[in-house]
Symmetry: C2
Subunit: 225 residues, 2 copies
Amino acid sequence: MFCLPPKSKHIPQATIKRLATYVQVLEGLARDNVDVVASKVLAEACGVQGAQLRKDLAYFGEFGIRGVGYQVKNLIHAITSSLGVDHEWPLVLMGVGNLGKAMINHIGYHAHGFRIQAIFDSDPFKIGEKVHGFCVLPPEQIQDIVALYKISIGIITTPPERTQNAAECFVEAGISAILNFSSVRIKVPEYVHVQYVDFFRHLYSLVFDLVREQTQAIMNDEGEG
Amino acid sequence: MFCLPPKSKHIPQATIKRLATYVQVLEGLARDNVDVVASKVLAEACGVQGAQLRKDLAYFGEFGIRGVGYQVKNLIHAITSSLGVDHEWPLVLMGVGNLGKAMINHIGYHAHGFRIQAIFDSDPFKIGEKVHGFCVLPPEQIQDIVALYKISIGIITTPPERTQNAAECFVEAGISAILNFSSVRIKVPEYVHVQYVDFFRHLYSLVFDLVREQTQAIMNDEGEG
């Protein structure tokens, strides 16, 4: 059981997502034995404005030492404990195709507060296969694994046509938070939290930025003409 | 060359990202031969509130027919043409591991306004390999391909240690927009647009939701005790 410090209860979603970046960058600094990092340097490494960084970190109290910077390890601990990722969350994953394999490799036994506990696929030809040290299990075993390891979070990396089915398997087994890599929207009970990793959203943003620039360039040309 | 309608110039990033979801859902409806969709049904399928959907779509003019709904094909055309994805954008991809293969399979020759033009890897053992119909090319060929097909967007799916190098290859070749699947922040000139697909951000959001619920439950118990 975890308890959030009162101030952090109302942290906006956008801040939470930036905090994930800060933790990853800070962990990189810790690995390189950096003890203290200047606010400006940290902001730049994270790709945000300095003011944004300071505002985001203010949710967790006072960590910066004026004129010096942030103490890397203290800051990691403060953020991860406030967010509940100072211990490892076990995950289950359904769908061991290329995307699933990439995720298993990426998270594996330990990454930024998470670890894969078990992987599943409904394809009988995949069951029993070893993937980065994990054995592919049949969906019938999800319920037992989820109960045994008290797992709350499931990752879906199936093809679109199997996404809804995977979500239902997870929910029946007791999963209450789903990370869905498929662009297919899933129907789950209201108490289940869902996050979509939809890279088309990012491609659309890029295209929009490019088109906006072109439009601006045309308008400038016309203004000069 | 494209030109945005004046009203759509100031569309917020968050709206653009939701529009990507709307287009994918609408394209699914079009495939199922649905001509008209009620605002409420569309909002639900996209996982947003009805008011949010109407507000987002208002940037593109008046498409809804009161009491009837949105005309699916007209709405797809309006959104995609405003965003500049009514024609296909060719992409290059660097890093043909599991994640790269998943993306090549997902986008391939045609998906939601994008198509893969060429794929690259710096591993000499991978060069020449066929992946979902594409031949893996060496990074030395990026420049020619980008110039020949007038490509603006590059996708990076390399391991973290090769991410910065991939970004530099792209920028030197003339790429001005990068979709980066690695959690490593890249350093590129200011004119280059970068979007990060960082699924840890989504995992953090899920954990935060779960912990917030637990905290709330504990506080309720204490209130009753």
